[in-house]
Assembly symmetry: C2
Homo-oligomer: 293 residues x 2
Amino acid sequence: MKFKKSEKFTESSGSMNSVVQWFVEGYNGSALMIKVKEILFEKKGLQHIQIFETESFGKMLVLDGKIQLTERDEVMYHEMLVHVPLFMIDGPSKILVIGGGDGGSVREILKHEPDEVIMVEIDREVVEACQMHIGIDGGALKDNRVTVLFEDGIEFVRTSKEKFDVIIVDGTDPNPVSKNLIAEEFYRYCSKIANLFATQSQSPFVQDQYFIELIQNAQRGFNFYSVYINYVPTYPLGLWSYLLASNSELNPNYDEIKRRWEERNIETKHYNPELHMASFALPQWLKRRLGEI
Amino acid sequence: MKFKKSEKFTESSGSMNSVVQWFVEGYNGSALMIKVKEILFEKKGLQHIQIFETESFGKMLVLDGKIQLTERDEVMYHEMLVHVPLFMIDGPSKILVIGGGDGGSVREILKHEPDEVIMVEIDREVVEACQMHIGIDGGALKDNRVTVLFEDGIEFVRTSKEKFDVIIVDGTDPNPVSKNLIAEEFYRYCSKIANLFATQSQSPFVQDQYFIELIQNAQRGFNFYSVYINYVPTYPLGLWSYLLASNSELNPNYDEIKRRWEERNIETKHYNPELHMASFALPQWLKRRLGEI
């Protein structure tokens, strides 16, 4: 294919027009390109929302130039974000999700048959666009155990009088809308209303600064934490990290996780109990970065 | 930056000219771009060799349009290719490497203090170009325990009268020069001269056909096999696979691996015994693809 002189992209934000058939996301000296067949939706509001039909990844959601999900690999992200915390405990009943407007996290949570899920998403237009053009939630957001609130997540946890078994943060890369979700205060508020907390924590290889800032702030909010990692092809250079945090000690025990997995009889495409345990094994460079060795 | 009308790339092979400052490797509907500062070497012989100075990955070796290594992440590949098989046994003494012209695998093997390493690389020009322009072997290929032969690997193993403790295949993506290294005969010859065998086995997410062909052919050559996976950012969409095979049962045992790791006192940047064990935990989609569930 040819690029025309008028076609530009910048490293920090995705760009598309009707001639260039590639979406590009840059990561400081490298970039991922995804071949696009059609632009299904585009709107600039609180965030710049784009939804594409791609050639080999199905539908793709992009916020502020960053790929949030593709139909082909979103399970790798959502299953590891949700099932790792939820298989850590018996009978997860009341779950809070911050962000997660596409509904993929709530879809996975419902497999554990909780009594109540509250999802707090700041950007109503993301939810509406995903419901209209992607629908990966498979109806989860309309389930009668689920309440969707369009509010600021940090305000919700600051003022909440309710307690939750687990809080799951399914946020975007830190941007003006979501940057509060990596602030120290946010973790302090969360630790007062839940004993178990999980968040996506960016790419430790590409986004080292955000990753470390998030981990350090979370450490100030919770007594214990563990980083786990997983492969998500369309996230920056394919490696993604998550943080599990608690005020009680975190000791993933394979036999207990396996027992819960068998009891709950959950169908997955990516997660399994062996991968659960394996995801906490970090390479030497990452252990050094975290000061663990 | 801008693209000019005359600048092209194809999905299947990397292309560069003096105006476009990005190297592009396509993978069927997606592509990785690496920002390039300078072309250090280029020659079309048995294979099309390119060596670049990149903006954020150090030097980069490309063969027939496929990234083989960058200085920044080659340890993630070489350490997992070499240390996983070598920590499976006590006292690895005589090792055969097929391919591996950049010398990274031999560098890692020497850390185990073997008596003898034979490296059989078909393309002398790759070795010479890497020695001249990259040098990641750190002198390993000139070590007096190491013999470098410029021959066809399949011919070497077919006619070899020698036995080896371990054979390690560090080949390129199957191309006219390396395609014999995924043929059934190759694995049969290897199984006659070594009891432990490891090879890179491509991306199971992007290169499903090669991956499955390789695994099936290796299964016909050896009685037992295990697939393991690891993260290599500049390989296709970041996930890479390896095959460990043997005529004896393969049961990685954490305590034994940890003991050997402590005895040998090897410095690594990526590998550790926990990651060794974790790399055999495969996601559900990959277990299904391998017929394991």
